[in-house]
């Protein structure tokens, strides 16, 4: 009797946006306890009946009410607040193949920063060095230069025989490097001085002409990326005569602009376009800054300290990692202020890094102190698509610049590479 009550017959209809897997538009009556596996076999059977070719079984994922079905259908519908009396549209998409661990790059100390460009991986380490790796996992260079832990690195430009990048550290400097690939020689071109405490984050603007740094002195500073000599000298806006000049051939550069507004450390930043950027801070706020105006444009208040923020140019949304173990999705365009569009809850510890997929507007990854790197779909807020296990300790940084390569570094002294299949064709 009780089982009768629990199992209700639901009317469902299968939809898909992938035309090669289309099935006839007929409603089916299924039990409410049906799971995705059963749905999957049902859809596969339907496709098999409809197609004349030899059919290979494909794994599908099912959405109802814009969210992935992770529990059985009845529970999902109840949680989404859908009516069980109407015909439910169940959309199915081909399931993403799981990312596979590809490589593990060993470092001497904690890996705190990573950035990927076309063929090269740049990683920052707590032993004050920056490392250069090829995408295949071959170590190219160890670059000493900083006097304290490196906190963030970022590529600026890359061409065939040379590349430039920037690294920031707790020694209050940002270093601009130029790498000559032929000779495999790195030269520190500029030392950017101006922050009064350790620099926490760096971001290169979309047009590659400037970069921003955020630090523990609550300031956001904008610098130019130009490699020309004596650039900083004629800038009379910010002079740091107090700071002793660093010996050596590299030039000291002063910031182009200093933006004040956060009340706590700036923990992460991301450029929206060539003149706007968004920063996350320990003072529980996200701020949007306009460089052309030179001030904070808008502010989103959260509930906990933010550790990282990332912006997707595909969807125009922000994701943040914060101290309460949740990943939150914000819309910077909304005028009502900080409205959290959705919260992704699965991590067990602080979420230190978040990155959007470069190709799919719905996918992103998050790395946390619980040693898990998670791949999320914004349609599945409670359960991630995949947990990428491998790290043995806290994850401090991750990157997904290159579409089929996810990189993460942590306090287990490793940089782990995960290979993802071609997501582009699926999305």
């Amino acid at each position: 009797m009780t089982s009768n009550i629990q199992t209700i017959q639901l009317q469902i209809r299968f939809l898909t946006k992938q035309e090669q897997y289309a099935v006839p538009d007929i409603p089916f009556a299924v039990d409410s306890t049906i799971t995705t596996d059963e749905l999957n076999s049902l859809v596969n059977q339907l496709i098999k009946e409809n197609s004349k070719e030899i059919y290979k079984k494909i794994e599908f994922d099912f959405l109802a009410g814009d969210h992935f079905i992770r529990t059985d259908l009845g529970q999902h519908i109840a949680s989404r607040g859908l009516s069980s009396e109407t015909v439910i549209d169940v959309e199915y998409v081909e399931r993403l193949p799981a990312p596979e661990p590809q490589d593990c790059l060993l470092h001497d100390d904690w890996v705190s920063a990573v950035d990927v460009c076309n063929d090269w991986i740049l990683s920052g380490c707590y032993d004050y060095t920056v490392h250069l790796w090829s995408k295949k996992g071959k170590h190219k260079l160890t670059i000493p230069g900083h006097t304290k832990a490196v906190k963030a690195v970022s590529w600026i430009s890359e061409n065939e025989d040379s590349a430039t990048f920037v690294s920031v550290s707790h020694d209050q400097t940002a270093l601009l490097w130029e790498w000559n690939m032929k000779d495999n020689v790195v030269e520190c071109v500029h030392v950017c001085r101006g922050h009064a405490r350790g620099i926490e984050c760096v971001g290169v603007s979309t047009d590659k002409t400037k970069f921003a740094t955020g630090a523990w002195d609550n300031m956001l500073k904008i610098w130019t990326t130009s490699m020309e000599e004596n650039f900083g000298e004629d800038e009379d806006g910010e002079t740091d005569s107090k700071r002793p000049k660093k010996e050596g051939k590299s030039q000291v550069r002063t910031p182009k602009m200093t933006l004040k507004g956060h009340r706590e450390a700036v923990s992460g930043l991301c450029w929206l376009n060539s003149s706007e950027l968004v920063t996350s801070s320990w003072d529980h706020t996200l701020r949007t800054w306009d460089i052309s105006v030179g001030a904070s444009v808008s502010q989103i208040s959260g509930n906990k300290a933010f550790f990282d923020v990332n912006y997707s140019s595909l969807s125009g949304l922000l994701i943040t990692g914060s101290a309460d173990r949740h990943v939150r999705l914000y819309d910077p365009r909304s005028t009502e202020g900080g409205i959290c569009k959705s919260t992704f809850t699965s991590h067990d510890a602080w979420v230190m890094c978040v990155r959007w997929s470069p190709t799919d507007e719905r996918l992103f990854i998050s790395g946390s102190h619980d040693a898990k790197l998670k791949l999320w779909d914004i349609r599945s807020p409670s359960v991630p698509l995949f947990d990428m296990v491998g790290h043995e300790d806290k994850i401090l940084c991750c990157d997904w610049t290159f579409p089929d390569l996810i990189v993460s570094g942590g306090t287990d002294n490793t940089l782990r590479l995960y290979k993802t299949s071609d997501f582009k064709s699926l999305s």
Binding site: D171, A196, W216, A265, N303, D348, H369, K394, L396
Partner: protein
């Protein structure tokens, strides 16, 4: 008419010949006058003209004194014409008489004119010859213009001049008629004259006339329809007016009436009420160029016009319904007793607060109710209320008490206290006695029973620095001043001032510089203080210098606690066994120590500076005393009601003090409220060791539990 004219002409011709003979006498007389000549010329013209032209000639004919009059009525004109002719004839005859002797000159020249003059005279003479005047009615019958059938029944048909009856002629019977018809060849042209009853035989001329009329022709055979037009009065403007008198002055003066009219037009044009033709044309042209203009009848195309009177109708206020007191037979309780009546009378004159405007009265029946005196008045006032008082819809804001409450965040977001371990700082090998966070919140320092001090990065749990301090660190405190990089550690009998070399490099070097140069000893310190504490600068060659230890203060007893003043220059140390020297205040800039109390205050457990005010808190076993450092007196005494206070902390705002005790309680004092604890919290199983106010309250329990509390 034409006939008569012709007749007239004939007659005048005869008369002219007659007159000519008469006038031969007057020709010899000289009349030198130009004006009559002209007149006569005109008269001559007028002779053959029709009546209207004659009329105008008549005008000319008159002398200047008599004003010209225009007649529109032809009949009237006819009679008048005759009169005027008479007048002119009279004058001319007069003229003739008066100037008979003197006027000789005018002779042959005026012959023609004389002729015409005569003719006009003849015109007057043959007045009775023409048949078209009323005088020429058939006067044989005097009945007048009455229908003759009135006389049908009589044998007479009227009366003649003498008043005798005119008898009807013998009609004869039908046979006579027939015989006449047969015999008389003129029968067909014989008609009966109704006036006289006589038979009249129409002449050939008459018959022709009738025939012409019947065929719709002009009756006169000789009349030419197509006579050439003679322009008697030229339309051309003559240079000189044909007038015998000069133009009147008034014709040269602008007319006042016209001036009025013109000024009216000018004003209208100025005001734009009237437009010149050109302006009209221009505006017309512009209008054409602009094309047809359309206007919205409604506010907008889609939205319905808001009709205030219909959609926002404000109904008139309703009158209160009559109640029992207005009844003719009200219940007893509504009737006034003496007292109420008195009161009512007293309040009658005052406006407002009066409940009733009448006295309820009782009648036996409705018939006995007298007329209400104020009826008209009240109706009038009601009407005034209805149309004189503007009405408006008043929006009433109804605020529920629930709405005033602030919206609480969801418990998921709020989490009043951390529920799980966020981060673990791994490194210490023995019990951690005390921790402290740097003013920026970036670093954390801890002192432990494993004789080491460690510095951690808060966000990652990275141990940045660790060194041995040769003893158990009882208390560690970061200097609250952000411009100084210093940490004070209480190790057994020593206080170590450590530069952790974390944070701003500039601050680090500045702090080192500050501590390197000892100030000149300006004053001799007393022996009592010297015995209690000695300052020692660590030399850079020493190994401790590299650890970061800059100054060591050697105390005479074991130091339990060290606490900083908000500015970072002063710090206090507590030695519970120090008796009357148990509390020491040190000044960093002058490397000086003070003993604030001369008498022992009991077993001092903790000392604390107020973060803003110059207040100093001393916690003994049971009580907390608050001293004013400026006035050097006790301000307040907080009573804990517990057996043994272990620790004390103050909120950065300075209003709230938390006190931990060895009997496993946390007491919360609000300094503004009372000296008794505001709240008492029992949390730990064992005695409580330390806690820190940072973003959240951090408690360190002796049983190895760390409790974080959101505040």
């Amino acid at each position: 008419m034409i006939n008569t004219d012709k007749l007239k002409r004939k007659l005048t011709n005869e008369k002219v010949t007659k007159k000519k003979e008469n006038e031969h006498e007057t020709f010899s007389e000289d009349i030198i006058d130009d004006i009559p000549l002209k007149e006569i010329d005109l008269n001559d013209d007028s002779e053959t003209d029709d009546e209207s032209e004659i009329d105008s000639s008549n005008d000319e004919h008159e002398d200047g004194s008599s004003d010209s009059t225009v007649y529109s009525d032809s009949e009237e004109f006819e009679s008048d014409e005759e009169e005027e002719h008479e007048d002119s004839n009279n004058t001319t005859t007069k003229l003739d008489n008066t100037t008979s002797e003197s006027s000789i000159v005018k002779k042959g020249t005026s012959e023609a004119q004389e002729n015409t003059q005569k003719s006009s005279k003849e015109n007057d003479d043959d007045e009775y010859a023409s048949h078209d005047t009323s005088d020429e009615e058939d006067i044989r019958n005097t009945v007048g213009n009455v229908p003759m059938n009135w006389y049908d029944e009589y044998e007479h048909i009227g009366y003649d001049w003498e008043g005798k009856k005119i008898m009807k002629p013998n009609q004869g019977d039908q046979i006579d008629m027939f015989l006449k018809k047969m015999e008389d060849p003129n029968f067909w042209r014989t008609v009966k004259d109704s006036q006289t009853g006589q038979d009249v035989v129409l002449s050939d001329k008459d018959i022709e006339l009738i025939k012409r009329i019947e065929s719709h022709k002009i009756p006169d055979k000789d009349y030419d329809d197509y006579t050439p037009w003679v322009e008697w009065f030229t339309s051309e403007v003559m240079d000189m007016p044909l007038r015998k008198f000069p133009e009147h002055k008034r014709s040269f003066l602008p007319s006042k009436d016209e001036i009025k009219k013109v000024s009216k037009y000018v004003h209208a044009m100025k005001m734009g009420w009237m437009k010149s033709r050109r302006a009209m044309k221009l505006s017309e042209k512009r209008k054409m160029e602009r094309g047809p203009q359309f206007y919205m009848l409604w506010h907008s195309d889609d939205a319905a016009e808001e009709m205030r009177r219909i959609h926002n109708h404000i109904p008139a206020p309703k009158r209160a319904l009559p109640d029992h007191s207005e009844s003719y037979n009200p219940p007893e309780e509504y009737l006034f007793n003496q007292q109420e009546l008195k009161k009512w009378n007293r309040e009658k004159k005052s406006i407002g607060n009066k409940k009733l405007h009448f006295v309820p009265q009782k009648y036996n029946s409705l018939r006995e109710v007298p007329s209400y005196k104020r009826f008209i008045r009240e109706r009038f006032l009601r009407c005034l209320d209805l149309y004189m008082c503007p009405r408006a819809i008043k929006m009433r804001l109804t605020i529920e008490p629930e709405d005033l409450l602030p919206k609480l965040p969801t418990p998921k977001d709020l989490q009043p206290f951390p529920t799980v371990v966020s981060i673990t700082y791994i490194g210490h090998t023995d019990m951690v006695r005390s921790i402290t966070i740097d003013p920026f919140g970036q670093y954390l320092a801890s002192a432990s029973d494993d004789s080491s001090v460690r510095f951690w990065e808060v966000s990652t749990g990275r141990c940045l620095k660790a060194f041995n301090i040769n003893g158990i660190g009882k208390c560690i405190t970061w200097c609250p001043n952000q411009a100084v990089s210093l940490v004070a550690v209480a190790v057994e009998r020593r206080i170590l001032l450590i530069n952790p070399q974390l944070g701003d490099s500039l601050v680090i070097t500045k702090t080192d510089d500050l501590l390197d140069t000892p100030p000149p000893e300006d004053k001799l310190t007393s022996e009592r203080i010297k015995a209690a504490v000695q300052w020692e600068h660590v030399s850079p060659s020493n190994d401790d210098w590299n650890k970061g230890i800059r100054i060591v203060l050697h105390h005479f007893k074991e130091v339990k606690q060290v606490s900083w003043h908000g500015r970072g220059d002063y710090f206090a140390t507590v030695m519970p066994d120090g008796e009357n020297r148990s509390v020491l205040i040190h000044q960093l800039s002058r490397r000086r120590s003070q003993l604030p109390f001369s008498k022992p205050k009991g077993l001092v457990q903790a000392a604390l500076f107020h973060p803003i005010k110059p207040l100093f808190f001393i916690a003994t076993q049971r009580n907390i005393r608050i001293y004013d450092l400026v006035k050097q007196e006790m301000v307040k005494k907080l009573i804990s009601n517990s057996k043994w206070i272990s620790h004390m902390a103050i909120h950065p705002g300075g209003d709230n003090v938390l006190v931990g005790t060895y009997d496993r309680k946390v007491l919360w004092f609000d300094l503004d409220l009372s000296t008794k604890p505001y709240k008492s919290l029992a949390l730990h199983n064992q005695a409580y060791v330390q806690w820190i106010y940072h973003p959240f309250v951090l408690e360190l329990g002796q049983e190895g539990r760390l409790i974080l509390q959101f505040h």
